[in-house]
Symmetry: C2
Subunit: 221 residues, 2 copies
């Protein structure tokens, strides 16, 4: 069976649990055994190893946070990580303190100073982004770094401080097994097309907006 046929087969076999169609346990077990076989085949068919471009975008929460989760996982596998923050940096974030536990295994550069609307000098902002991008390029080219997190780069793109073609060209300079994660609202179409995995975070509820709740340690920073 092809990879797509296996996907189809898995979908037809369906999920387990109490919503399953069988009322008898023997029938359930049989279907789940078949499902397990199909799943094993699916994993075997997909055996390519490659460095991925992952994009977390959209208006919802969890974009930077998902990037940090990838950082934590990669560190857990003993690999090196580099983080370049393009926009934030006005506060001392909890994550920066937490990552100190990993010493030299992680490099952190908070190159954006405060949010963009807190500065009144476009030229300076542009220079900050250019400096951040040069730092990013060094890590992208460094084969010893397994994951490069370019935090809020999408916002720098959206504000016109760097163009998508420059970014995509830079991403292509990295070694074949290096992963790169790009976060921020408004990922441009060119970056979405170049990416291997794009997740859009959609806001459903927000306590700041609806309840007057303040930004809290651990959640927002």
């Amino acid at each position: 069976m092809s990879t797509n046929d296996l996907d189809q087969s898995a979908a037809e076999l369906g999920m387990g649990g109490n919503l399953a169609p069988e009322s008898d346990d023997a029938g359930y077990r049989k279907r789940m055994e078949r499902r397990q076989q199909v799943q094993k085949q699916r994993v075997e068919e997909r055996n390519k190893e490659k460095g991925l471009i992952l994009v977390f975008t959209g208006q919802g929460k969890g974009k930077t946070t998902a990037g940090l989760g990838l950082v934590l996982r990669t560190l857990g596998h003993g690999e090196r990580v580099a983080i370049v923050q393009f926009i934030k940096g006005g506060w001392e974030p909890g994550e920066a303190r937490a990552l100190k536990a990993f010493g030299d295994q992680v490099r952190w550069h908070a190159l954006g100073e405060g949010f963009t609307w807190e500065t009144q000098d476009r030229e300076r902002d542009q220079q900050l982004v250019e400096r951040a991008w040069q730092t990013a390029l060094e890590y992208l080219r460094d084969g010893a770094v397994k994951l490069v997190l370019l935090d809020e780069l999408n916002v720098a793109l959206k504000l016109g401080y760097i163009d998508a073609a420059t970014v995509i060209h830079g991403l292509k300079e990295r070694p074949t097994l290096t992963h790169v994660a790009v976060t921020g609202r408004g990922a441009p179409a060119e970056l979405v097309d170049a990416a291997d995995l794009v997740t859009e975070m959609t806001l459903i509820h927000h306590p700041f907006r609806e309840q007057g709740v303040k930004a809290q340690a651990g959640i927002e920073f």
Copy 2:
């Protein structure tokens, strides 16, 4: 101005950057100064501190990963964290190894054994979920724990192994400043209604499906 009026005002003032309407720097600076004032007021108006229910759901990637990012931030603030995994647990994940760096500050329970379709015994699955929920309740009631991550609980709900009313009742037992994050596809409507912040992750590209790429260390586990 009310909180909502301030939001409106911030939206009208717009964003900075090279897409801004002013061609002169003085005009730009003036608008951005006003924007900064409005932003300051918005933050001041929102001053309530409370423990939040955060839900990460949807078909996209990054749900568990976003939960892990919250864990990392909370640890960085010196607070205690508890993680209860309802479904996964068949592999030794990178995050488990990484979190060992934080010693007793974090408790991790991988109570689900493998994915649901890898077991053929519904009764056993149900018991695993019930055991995981009892563990979760202990942490939810423990005021010393700042963040409780209930990983893949939504999937246990979706499969009918626990009902939404039981979960919501349990979440209400926690002290007022405890945050709880719930991840997994298919969050039920009752949980979405009870939550303070719900983010839906939507899949745009997926390398497994489209390119035959295997699950890779740091990205998937």
